[in-house]
Structure formats: structure tokens, C-alpha cells
Amino acid sequence: MSTVATTGAPPRRSLGEFILEQLRPHGPILTPFNIISAPIILAGMVLVVIRFWKGIGAVSNLSQAHPWGVWVGFDVMTGVAFAGGAYILTAAVYVLHAEKYHPIIRATVLNGLLSYMFYSGALMIDLGRPWHIVNPIIGNKFGYSSIMFLVAWHFLLYTLSEFIEFSPAIAEWLHLPKLRQVLKALTLPTVIIGVTLSTLHQSGLGALFLFNKNKLHPLWYTEFLPVLFLVSSVFAGLSMVIFEGSITHRAFRIQIDPKKHHEFDEITLGLARGAAATMYVYLFFELLVFLHGKHWRYLNTGWGAWWLVEMVGFVAIPLALYAHGYERRRLGAIRVAAALTLVGVMLNRLNVCMIAFNWKSPVKYVPAVSEVVITLMVVFLEIWAFRWIVHRLPVLREAPAPAQEG
């Protein structure tokens, strides 16, 4: 681990020295995480080369009946929901003045920003003709009546908002106090715009499946898919913050002021309460849809059982655990609840996008190993980037006073 103090002094070194210093690894190299992730990243890169050379079919099991697999279902659908913590927490802190959550804002926003950057990278692998992605962006051909088009634009603009929200940390890192002040002033308007953009692209991901009335199993198809996606993005995001926080605070413990540890427990309890409340709303919606669509007809089929696994095992049970953990102040229970919730949201997105999609077709989809390796590559790369930044920028620790002033 590096000594934090070195970054405190204003840079008197040359730019070259500064860059070299920042590029040097700041932690031990042979950690278990590195030993597992490095070969997977390398393998993934080889597979990506094969994909661009021989086509998507060479590395995936995607088919005419199942055009979207784990790259969309996990990287995009699940990843975006998991990154929902950033818009919820920025709204809480900057709009509603819930100062209590301020200490975790930067890490959460950084996580969201990196997720979005890496997911759009993953999307390039999934798009058949990625060089034409500029068409909907620069207005060659605006399909502005397409949900996909709207989601893409909201996604893009939100990534930009997150970058602006995070940028004061970069200014502190580079010791540019004047710039930092300007960027800081942008925070409130950016947060307001960012939250708006988020509600729309989170729900828009659900709206993508509104066409699939005859293709998506009725237990998952409803005209309320956009609402369900939006509500579940709230507790998915909060659960990710809890889950990710419990890991980073162990991994980067040295960066955190020991006095703060108690504060983090309080934050976790608050997040758990928020997650439980939104999960309750979500379950209620699901129940309404269930009753209104007379869906009990499907319950004694295999699909019904699978749906119950999702709803009971990964929504109702973690909800109960969250409530219990909050009441009794049991952080362990809360962490388990967070993990279960994340699995549940992932199951839901995968069900909608691939498992219960085209359920009547005899063609089934099971991801190829190489598809999963590429997906893991994206996730690991994101974690590497996160770690690199946390070791260098004031994300978890406070910036030294001189960098903040000005």
C-alpha cells in the first residue's frame, strides 16, 4: 500500500515524474484476486479478437431465436440496475440533504461511472456493426421514435453527468483547486439532470421488452415492465452499495479514518431500510400484476416454479432479512440480504432478456463458456480500474486540505 501523504504536497515534480509515479502499482501484485482475474482478462482479450475476426457466432451461442444473451442480459441489463446506487444516493445527498450518506458518495459515483463506461465497451462487442453506432448519435439516422434510441441517448448523457459529478476528485488529485471549484458548482444541476436521465433509462430498459407480448412468458411480460425495472433498480443499486462497501472497506481499510467505521455501520443500516421499503413496493406491484393477469394459472408449471424461486427466494426472503437486520441492527444479515437481492435482480433481468424470452421456441439458449469469459473480463477490468483509481484519487479518504481550498 502506498503512503497517502505523498499525494498531499503540491506537485513540484515534473509531469513525467508525476505520471510515472501514478502508474506504479500501489499494492502487492500476487494477490488471490489478481491471480484469478489476470488470466481471465487475457483469455477474454483473445476471444474478443476472435469475435471481431470471425463473427459473433464464433464465440457465442446466440441464435436467430435468442438474439440477446449474457452480454446484453448481464452486462447491460443487470449492470445498469446494479449501478443505480449512484443516482439514488446523489439525489439523497445533494437534493434531499441527507448528509449522512456523503462519505460514500464518491465511491458510489465512481462505481457507477466505471460500470457505464465498461458496459458501453461490452456493448461494442455485442453490436454486429459497431462502427455504425455513430448513426444514432451524430444524427445520420435518428430513430428517435425507437425505445432503444432513447435509452442509448439517456445512457450516454448520464455517463457524462456521472463524470462531471466525479470530476472534483480528479481536480483534487491533479491539485487544481480553481478547476475544482468550478466543477463543484456544477454538481447540483448535474445531479438533477442525472437523476432524471436515470429514471428514464432504467425504466427504458424494461420498455425495450414491451414488444414481446407473444414472446416473453406471461409471468414476466406486463405493460408495467418499465415501472418494475425502475423500482428494482433502486434496491439493486442500494444493495450493490452495501455489498460493494463491505468489500472495499475491508480491501482499502487503511484509507479510511478509523473514527469513520462506526459511521459506515449507520449508513449501511439506512441503506438497508431504503432497500427494504422499495422491495416492499416492488413485491406489491408484482402481486398486482399477478392477480390482474390471473397468473396463478401458470403456477403449477415449471415456469411457475422458476418464477417463485425469483420472487420468494430472491425478493421476499432478502426483504425479510433486510427488515430483520435493520430492526435488530444485524449487519451480517444485511450483507446476506444484499447479496441475495443482487442475485435476484440478475435473475430477473436474465429471465426477461433470455431465459423466459421466446419460451415457446424449441431453440434454447445456454451461454457459451467464451461468452461468460468475455463477460467476466469486463467485470474484472472494471474492478481493476476502480482499484487503480481508489489507490490514487481521494475517493474513500478525504482529500488533504490544500487540495480542497481555493
Binding site: 459473433i56 456493426r129 430513430g143 432503444m148 442509448a152 427504458g204 425495450l208 414488444f211 407480448k213
Partner: protein, 296 residues
């Protein structure tokens, strides 16, 4: 009315108008982009499955005009399997065993009047032309495969084995139609099982066939209203499930399913920010009051 309230109201009204505009655009996108005259009518093909003998000359003709591998109906035994269209077979004839014996069914893109694929496409690569055919533009498509997800008939095909994949499907011989010719498959059919013309004329023809031979036909013209109306119409002796047609596509034009959401996008975009700002002001005031009370 104070200023902020007024601004909010004005914003709402503006957002509503913008929303209505977007929704209108949505229904328009699925409609022909180059429709010069409003009452121009789409062309269609009527398939009478009671006349088809399964010779698959339509498949051969299709492959020939579109430069696809030409099948050999006499030898390839393709009727033994239940086939779907593929990247290089844009139309396939399947044999079905039904209550009234063996029936042959030609399948291909339905050329919907308000196609899901065109409404879905973010780059307008899928286009409903003014003539009727739904075509694909290679210079626009980014390969997201959302058209494949959206199509209720599972028609667009993607070249998974190419570094530069295309979306492939029947384009109803768009270029031939522009030259005043018929689709190649219609021309090739020796049984007049396929008939080309204006949709309204073909509907009339179909109805009169059913009327004249009420015992021979199942009383439904598939494609008249399916998915909001298609450019391919089918007559059959048996219920359409037995021929393997999706009977759960409904009669709602597909763009309708996303209309409400599209309508709400600009509304949310314009209403939420002032709302959030209002909350910001409200909570800062509360905090100030609290601080004062604590200070006192």
C-alpha cells in the same frame, strides 16, 4: 402565481406537447417514410394454402433473384424437416399434417403495415417503404438485433458467422416492384397459390373465395388484422395453429405497445428537474429552520 410555479406549469405544457409529438413520430416511423400521397395503398400477396402443391419453385425463384444458394427441391428432401427461414433462405415451404390431410405452407417476412422491427430500430435501418415492402439499409444498421427481438413472427436473421454481419430477410422483391414487376415467387408459382396486388383487392378476392366455397375454407384471413395488419394474407382449410402460425400476435399494431412510454419520456425529462429543484429548496429551508432552532 409565483414565478417558479408558473415556470413549472409552462414546462409541463411544453413537455406534453413534445410528448405528443414523439408519440406521433413513433406511429409515423413504422409507417412509410416516403409516403408521398396519403391514400397510397400497400401492395400485398395472397397465399392460398389449399392450392399449394409444395413444389418449392418459389424458393428457387427467391434464391435466384436475391443471389442466395439455390435449393434443389427434387433432391434435397427439405420437406421432411420443419424449417424456418435462414440468412440465405428468405422463404421456406413446410409440409404440415392436419385434420384435412397434408398442407404446404410458404413462410417469409409478413411485411407488416406497422412493423415492430421498424419501430424498434434505433437507426431507421429497417424501413417500411411506401409501396409496402419492409427493407433493410446496410449503411445504417449497427447490428443491435433489436429488430429480431421485436418481430412477433421471428423473421429478421443475423449473420452470426461474419465479421461484417447483415440482417437478412425477405424484402418482397422491392426493386422488382419498383420496376412494375411482381415478386419473383409469385411469378414462379405454377398453381396460382400466390397472388400479387393491392391489399384491398386481395382481401376482396380472398373473401369471395371463402364465400363461394364455405366448406373448403377455414373462415379467417390470416394477416388481415394480425399484428395490426400484414402485407401477406393467407387462406387455409384448417385453423391456423395447425399450420404453425403464431395465433397470439393480437391485432394491435406493434408501435402501440411502446407509445405510452415514448409519450412519457419528454414529460418526465421536463417535469422531474423542476420537481427535484423544488425538493432541494424545501429541504434546505427545513435545515436552515432546524439550525436556527438549535442555535436559539
Amino acid at each position: 402565481m409565483d414565478r417558479r410555479k408558473f415556470l413549472e406549469l409552462a414546462g409541463t405544457a411544453g413537455a406534453m406537447a413534445a410528448g405528443a409529438g414523439l408519440a406521433k413520430a413513433a406511429t409515423k416511423a413504422a409507417k412509410p417514410s416516403d409516403n408521398k400521397e396519403k391514400d397510397e395503398e400497400f401492395v400485398a400477396v395472397l397465399v392460398d394454402t389449399t392450392r399449394c402443391i409444395g413444389c418449392r419453385r418459389c424458393e428457387v425463384a427467391c434464391a435466384q433473384v436475391n443471389g442466395l444458394p439455390v435449393p434443389d427441391p427434387a433432391r434435397d428432401g427439405a420437406l421432411e424437416k420443419d424449417r424456418k427461414t435462414t440468412v440465405d433462405q428468405w422463404t421456406v415451404v413446410n409440409r404440415r399434417e392436419t385434420e384435412k390431410g397434408e398442407v404446404f405452407v410458404k413462410t417469409q417476412c409478413m411485411h407488416c403495415e406497422q412493423p415492430a422491427c421498424a419501430a424498434a430500430c434505433p437507426t431507421k435501418a429497417m424501413e417500411k417503404t411506401h409501396l409496402g415492402p419492409v427493407i433493410w439499409h446496410p449503411d445504417r444498421c449497427m447490428g443491435c438485433r433489436y429488430c429480431m427481438m421485436a418481430c412477433p413472427f421471428e423473421i429478421p436473421r443475423f449473420e452470426y458467422d461474419s465479421w461484417n454481419p447483415r440482417i437478412r430477410k425477405c424484402i418482397q422483391c422491392y426493386e422488382r416492384l419498383q420496376d412494375g414487376e411482381q415478386p419473383a415467387c409469385v411469378e414462379a408459382c405454377p398453381q396460382e397459390a400466390l397472388m400479387f396486388g393491392k391489399k384491398s383487392d386481395l382481401l376482396q378476392e380472398a373473401r369471395s373465395r371463402v364465400y363461394r366455397h364455405p366448406d373448403k375454407y377455414f373462415h379467417h384471413i390470416y394477416g388481415e388484422h394480425e399484428a395490426g395488419g400484414c402485407g401477406w394474407l393467407y387462406l387455409s382449410a384448417v385453423p391456423f395453429e395447425e399450420l404453425g402460425f403464431p395465433t397470439d400476435v393480437g391485432t394491435t399494431p406493434y408501435p402501440e405497445y411502446t407509445k405510452d412510454f415514448l409519450l412519457s419520456v419528454p414529460v418526465v425529462d421536463m417535469i422531474v428537474p423542476p420537481l427535484l429543484y423544488g425538493l432541494y429548496e424545501l429541504t434546505s429551508r427545513k435545515e436552515r429552520v432546524q439550525e436556527q432552532e438549535e442555535g436559539a
